[in-house]
Amino acid sequence: MNGIVLKTEHLTMQFGGVVAVDDLNIEIPQGHITALIGPNGAGKTTAFNVITGGYMPTNGRVVFHDKVIGENHPRSKMKKIYNGSDRTTFHHQVVNTPDKITRLGMARTFQNIRLFKELSVFENVLIAKHCRIKAGMLSATFRLNHVEERTMREQTQELLKTVGLADLAREKASSLPYGKQRRLEIARALATSPSLLLLDEPAAGMNPKETEELAQFIKDIKDSFNLTVFLIEHHMNLVMDISDKIYVLDYGKTIAMGTPKEVQNDPAVIRAYLGVEDE
């Protein structure tokens, strides 16, 4: 129960001369909800993208369930202009595409909802089940996997019921109201059977009541799907309410970490937030 699900070691991402994520070291224990917060442009989403394989890190390592899923050290042009604060040398280069990482059991949502807009709610979730399919293309074409197909459909229906979207199953994804789209995106991520769920600003654009519902929802799915959750969020109420541990990022650097209480009272955090508070 207390194993570390995800660990980053000296994770750094540099675009040209800009260091978006600088020496990020996080540990996410099994069954916890961990939050990554920070002002706009602090590098939170970039960190997510590096972890999920969207970008290759400039330096550092990502370990998922004791398996290195991403590792790199400054190379070619970056060698010269690298100015991340840590130079611990890694020797290998491990590259995984996002789809592989998802199949390893890490699912994510996106800050600016990315649903399959023209497809139905049901299809959105059903598609996410595809990554676990056993049948090959030919046997799927000739319907030799009809048992598997039926199971996929039943599980999808089940999942939709769990997240409360069952009665909207036939609707087009883009026709759902905003809050439900967020929920559908989470459901879709859950359909890939992850052990770790990454949520990128799940409460963005929600009113206080919706946010409260969302907090409960995250707690519920965490328990019922036996998940570990890692989220980026701006809504402080939500973060303080559900997180076990919080990391605070500013200009790519980790400026504080700890329990919600500790972070709330950290002078560096207060400075970072009050100094650039413009929301």
């Binding site: 675009f15 989403t45 993208n49 969207g54 970008y55 996106f110």
Partner: protein, 293 residues
């Protein structure tokens, strides 16, 4: 192959390359701003060939050239207005299909109006005057093309870099949406872009067809695609790059024909395209862009 023949072919190649370069600019400008491969550009070039045939039948050549260029420019602007503007916010696939549709329309229209039989391109005696240096011989048009190309590119660069319109064009190609928000009249910029592109295609057409001597409704397709490749090769959105790409393709193509591989001269362009896209998708002088997740 003797030195003279090599020189002779190089000369032809440079001349062809100059015409290609002029057409390639049209692709590179439009792609830079609208992110659209203007499939109809090659057909605008073809239509300019027909316009020249007809205007030369009724006017003396200096006026005929002006008339041809004017009609070509108007056609380019009209095509943008009718076929691309309504689709500006649609998915990229629809606007590309629209471009293909315009190309299809222009080809069929030309077949209908002028028949598919090749039409002789009239000679402008001045351009056809032959110069001889030793064993080398070249018509004026062969010598004029590269010079004119370079002059036009320099003029265009001045326009783009020094004038207000040019600044608006650069802004629009950097960031279309922001440029719009900053109060740049995007429609005007696009119109100017298409006008310049068509004008250069018109000039390129006169130079190209004077050397080839006949026009068919399909003579725009392949040169068009080749010039797009030239634009990609030089780095799409980059004007000197497009011209250098044009020269390169023109020269290699001519040499391949001279060596007896004429069937492969067209294929070469596309091999170049695929290799380029895989090795250096931004082209020789293109800027790198990063896709946002």
């Amino acid at each position: 192959m003797s030195i003279t023949t090599i020189l002779q072919h190089s000369l032809t190649g440079i001349s062809l390359g100059g015409a290609y370069g002029l057409i390639a600019i049209g692709y590179t400008l439009v792609y830079g701003i609208l992110r659209l491969i203007n499939f109809a550009h090659g057909d605008i070039f073809m239509m300019a060939g027909y316009f020249m045939i007809f205007s030369l039948a009724s006017f003396p050549w200096p006026i005929a050239i002006v008339v041809t260029l004017l009609i070509t420019v108007l056609m380019g602007i009209a095509i943008e207005r009718v076929a691309y503007k309504p689709l500006r916010s649609s998915p990229r696939m629809s606007i590309m299909i629209s471009a293909i549709g315009v190309s299809y329309l222009l080809q069929n229209l030309a077949t209908y109006l002028f028949t598919a039989i090749p039409r002789g391109y009239p000679e402008i005696p001045l351009l056809k005057r032959i110069f001889r240096v030793g064993e080398l011989s070249a018509s004026l048009v062969t010598l004029l093309t590269p010079v004119l190309t370079i002059v036009l590119v320099v003029l265009l660069m001045i326009l783009v870099n020094k004038t207000k319109t040019g600044m608006a064009m650069r802004a629009a190609s950097k960031d279309f949406e922001t440029a719009k928000l900053m109060g740049i009249n995007i429609n005007r910029v696009i119109t100017v872009t298409f006008a310049i592109g068509s004008l250069l295609a018109g000039i390129g057409s006169i130079l190209y067809f004077t050397d080839r001597m006949s026009v068919t409704p399909f003579s725009g397709t392949l040169p068009g695609l080749k010039c797009f490749v030239a634009a990609v090769f030089g780095g799409i959105g980059n004007i000197p790059g497009a011209v250098i790409g044009g020269f390169f393709i023109g020269i290699v193509e001519t040499l391949l024909v001279a060596l007896g591989y004429s069937t492969f001269s067209d294929a070469f362009t596309f091999v170049l395209l695929i290799v380029m896209l895989l090795v250096k998708p931004t082209g020789l002088f293109g800027e790198k862009t990063m896709e946002k997740v």
